[in-house]
């Protein structure tokens, strides 16, 4: 079966900001070749590691983001290796990079320089703040990016005293930027296919990607000139909303969303609570009225809190869903593996063979199911420089090709 991005070749001269976009392209069929320094990209030196043993080929952080890719090593600080790199360009469609602004120009590998020789080339640069602007040389990290981009201001607690704004784990700033880079690259490929075969430069700033991804926060300033307050697991809003996280009998937490409760759902909820003798005052008919219920939601919460403490989270989840309440337990990521809907029916996890270790491991699977060109991890993440030999012959072939084309001119 043909892959959606089959035949598209990407040189990923990047590390932690490019790796997710590179993975998105690679898992859809593009040939993505990571160009690394002989020590490997920094991601290879970041844990967690396989068996907690640090090694350039053992980083699980690297593994996750570099599936389906190849790896070659070049020292771009050296002119001879830069020549090898430019020698590859004729055969590649996309360069994906995350160097500090200015470095590629020093090496004459910036878009303006390369595009004169390779007008069809698409180059995508992902940097913390973009190629321009007063903060473009600021030093970033995931935490700082989430602070400055406005995610932390809306994430946190209204029921834990003195709690700071919270930055979620998982490297989410780079993740969010990855989507926009991948969208931009494929749009440029599409445009290039339209006729003129014209490449272009795509400049992605993580800061802008994060700043534009917090839903209501910015509109509240634009339209009401109000700040928003942090609410535990709920939307940050100007006014305090009612809590919806409760502890269950099995110590797991559950989210009991109280929005979109129509009369039918409300009556079924009260019947359910009543069947356990835990309805409290909620049988009062006034609660059927949306406005009355909204203004007395704290009473509803008190009843739900007691109810949840007496019941297992899985029971509450499935029963609530059976009466159309969009409630859910707070699962640890690994608990998805035990959900047969995900693991069996949807095949949301895939086994990837690591021949170098004689072992297979479970990886997170497809974020979308394409019927004609399915997502696939086509190979495990590459060992450092694993494909050097394959491309060594390219450099030679390219030189030969260049000589031939010079003759034709």
């Amino acid at each position: 079966m043909q892959k959606a991005l089959e035949g598209i070749r990407v040189l990923e001269v990047g590390d932690q900001l490019t790796q997710f976009a590179g993975k998105m392209l690679a898992d859809m069929g593009a040939e993505v070749v990571k160009v690394e320094s002989p020590n490997g990209v920094e991601a290879r030196h970041i844990g967690p590691f396989y068996r907690d043993e640090p090694d350039v080929n053992n980083s699980l952080y690297f593994w996750h983001y570099n599936t389906s890719k190849k790896s070659i090593t070049l020292e771009l600080g050296m002119e001879s290796d830069r020549e090898k790199f430019t020698g590859l360009l004729a055969q590649f469609d996309v360069v994906l990079e995350d160097f500090t602004p200015g470095i590629l120009k020093e090496w004459s590998l910036d878009y303006d320089t390369l595009s004169s020789d390779y007008p069809e080339l698409i180059m995508c640069s992902i940097t913390p703040f973009g190629q321009t602007g007063p903060w473009s040389q600021y030093k970033m990290s995931d935490l700082t990016q989430l602070a400055i981009g406005g995610v932390m201001a809306v994430n946190g607690y209204d029921d834990v005293e003195d709690a700071p704004p919270i930055a979620p784990t998982g490297g989410q700033a780079a993740n969010i930027a990855g989507y926009f880079a991948a969208i931009g690259i494929v749009s440029a490929l599409f445009y290039r296919e339209m006729g003129q075969r014209k490449g272009q430069h795509i400049d992605i700033a993580v800061h802008e990607c994060v700043a534009g991804s917090t839903e209501y926060s910015l509109p509240y300033w634009e339209y009401q000139k109000t700040h928003v307050k942090r609410h535990t697991v709920r939307h940050a809003l100007p006014n305090k909303s009612s809590r919806w996280i409760f502890k269950c009998k099995d110590d797991r937490y559950i989210l009991c969303l109280n929005t979109y409760l129509d009369e039918k759902r409300w009556r079924e909820l009260v019947n359910w609570l009543a069947s356990k003798g835990m309805e409290g005052e909620l049988t009062d008919e006034r609660y059927v009225d949306d406005y009355f219920r909204a203004t007395n939601m704290d009473n509803v919460c008190d009843v739900l809190e007691k109810f949840c403490l007496e019941h297992e989270s899985e029971y509450i989840f499935h029963y609530a869903q059976s009466i159309n309440l969009p409630w859910a337990p707070v699962r640890a990521p690994e608990e998805m593996l035990q959900d047969p809907h995900l693991s069996e029916d949807r095949k949301a996890f895939v086994e990837v063979e690591h021949s170098e270790l004689n072992q297979s491991f479970i990886y997170p699977g497809a974020p979308y199911i394409f019927n004609n060109t399915p997502w696939e991890i086509s190979s495990r993440p590459p060992l450092l420089g694993e494909h050097n030999d394959e491309f060594e012959s390219y450099y030679l072939k390219d030189k030969a090709l260049m000589k031939t084309s010079e003759k034709i001119k």
Partner: protein, 442 residues
């Protein structure tokens, strides 16, 4: 900007999405130049039309403030899909569309007679993308999920918070946002495939599954190393290492110490900054930057091990310093020394003062007939040939009915008049200007 080439010029998207996730996908496609026709019905409007209003505005169907940002660049066509004539018109539109989007609960589109097989028969080569909570297949496909539900189910809520207490989760529907971006990438990819092969695609997106790549290292630590996230010290608040007894990586990337949020002068909810230091060299630069205070000179802080062992004390000392200073002052000082430090910026900071966003022009100023000139959030993608931009504000309900019927489908004025009289384009029993909502969602 309007003279610039557009990547998706000539692509038509028939858009049945509502709420946040699907609408985000459609918004992105519109910014790339696709013609997005949002199909609506006044009696069952997109809840985002009344989810939040401008200060002092009377709640109405056409002045939703959040809606304006979320649906920028789209056209609106009202038609009763539950009527036979209405569905005929939808079929005609499908024939003239490249993409059809929906984010209803699983089964709704099928009930309308619009499963992928039928769509492909009506419009060969069409790309059908659907976003639902748990996908179109599987034992729990009918389960209802809103953004927060999906984040609960895929671990995104769990991975955000302080140790030893309940999770903080996210202050917005992160999975709606992520599913929207995922949808846009998937459609873009399918369009590219179609361009090269003529073949369409059925893309079944589960909002829960769009979170699979977002906690990847965390999941692999479990599947490979059997290390559970349900361990003391995880999630680690804003730290990178919780304590010397728990040296696990907490999946933020590089490990550092100090690595935390610190209160700054002012005492407000957002008078905080973050500082992240990743090497002994950076630690020594940091000490110098804050004037080598006596406490910082203690030998125990010289190594990573030492700093982690005394992290509580270290953080208290740093906070005593930051508490005396404005968050931006701290950020500027430390950044001038090459230390990763950021002010916790709130909405006002980002929209009014952020010099970087100003220079880069993230916000686009556009005029809406009821809301006036407003700053809308542009696409964070700068492209030298095909720069995406928002084109226009969100559409009024049914604003483009004439365009869709006459220009796209070639209906005459008389034919349109008949449809109008039959109540196919607007409910006969509902005056166009009398929509009222009981209370906004938020």
């Amino acid at each position: 900007m309007t003279n610039q080439a557009e990547a998706l010029k000539g692509i038509r998207v028939l858009d049945f999405t509502w709420s946040v996730s699907g609408s985000t996908t459609a918004r992105i496609l519109a910014a790339f130049g696709a013609e997005v026709i949002k199909v609506e019905w006044p009696k069952t409007p997109d809840a985002m039309r009344f989810s939040m209003y401008a200060k002092d505005d009377e709640p109405g169907l056409n002045n939703g403030a959040f809606f304006n940002n979320l649906n920028a660049g789209k056209k609106s066509f009202t038609v009763n899909v539950k009527s036979e004539r209405g569905m005929e018109i939808i079929h005609e539109l499908l024939k003239k569309s490249d993409v059809v989007l929906e984010n209803f609960s699983a089964g709704v589109f099928k009930k309308w007679g619009l499963d992928y097989k039928t769509l492909e028969e009506i419009s060969p080569g069409i790309i059908y993308m659907s976003i639902s909570g748990l996908g179109h297949t599987g034992r729990h496909k009918i389960y209802g999920t809103w953004g927060p539900t999906a984040a609960g189910l895929n671990g995104m809520t769990f991975i955000s918070g302080m140790p030893k207490t309940h999770p903080a989760g996210w202050g917005y529907s992160i999975m709606d946002v992520i599913a929207g971006y995922t949808g846009a990438f998937s459609v873009m990819t399918a369009l590219f495939h179609k361009k090269r092969t003529g073949k369409g695609q059925y893309i079944d997106i589960s909002q829960v599954e769009t979170g699979l790549p977002l906690a990847g290292a965390n999941l692999l630590d479990f599947t490979v190393n059997k290390r559970s996230s349900k361990r003391p010290g995880f999630p680690p608040g804003n730290r990178s290492v919780t304590s010397k007894d728990h040296r696990e990586n907490n999946y933020r990337g590089k490990v550092g110490c100090p690595h935390n949020s610190y209160r700054c002068a002012g005492g407000g909810d957002n008078d905080w900054c973050t500082i992240a230091i990743f090497s002994d060299k950076e630690w020594s630069t940091f000490k110098h930057a804050i004037g080598n205070p006596e406490w910082s000179m203690e030998e125990k802080y010289d190594t990573f091990e030492g700093r982690v062992s005394h992290q509580d004390e270290l953080d208290r000392n740093i906070e005593a310093y930051t508490m005396e200073r404005n968050k931006f002052e701290v950020m500027e000082l430390l950044q001038n020394h090459g230390i990763s430090c950021g002010a916790v910026q709130m909405n006002e900071d980002l929209m009014e003062n952020d010099p970087q966003l100003k220079v880069r022009g993230l916000f686009e100023r556009l005029k809406h007939p009821l809301l006036g000139e407003r700053n809308l959030i542009g696409l964070p993608i700068k492209m030298s040939e095909t720069q995406p931009y928002l084109h226009k504000t969100a559409p009024l309900m049914g604003e483009d009915n004439d365009y869709v019927l006459s220009e796209v489908l070639g209906y005459s004025k008389e034919e349109i008049k008949v449809l109008d009289e039959q109540g196919v384009l607007w409910p006969n029993d509902m005056p166009k200007d009398e929509f009222k909502v009981v209370r906004p969602l938020w």
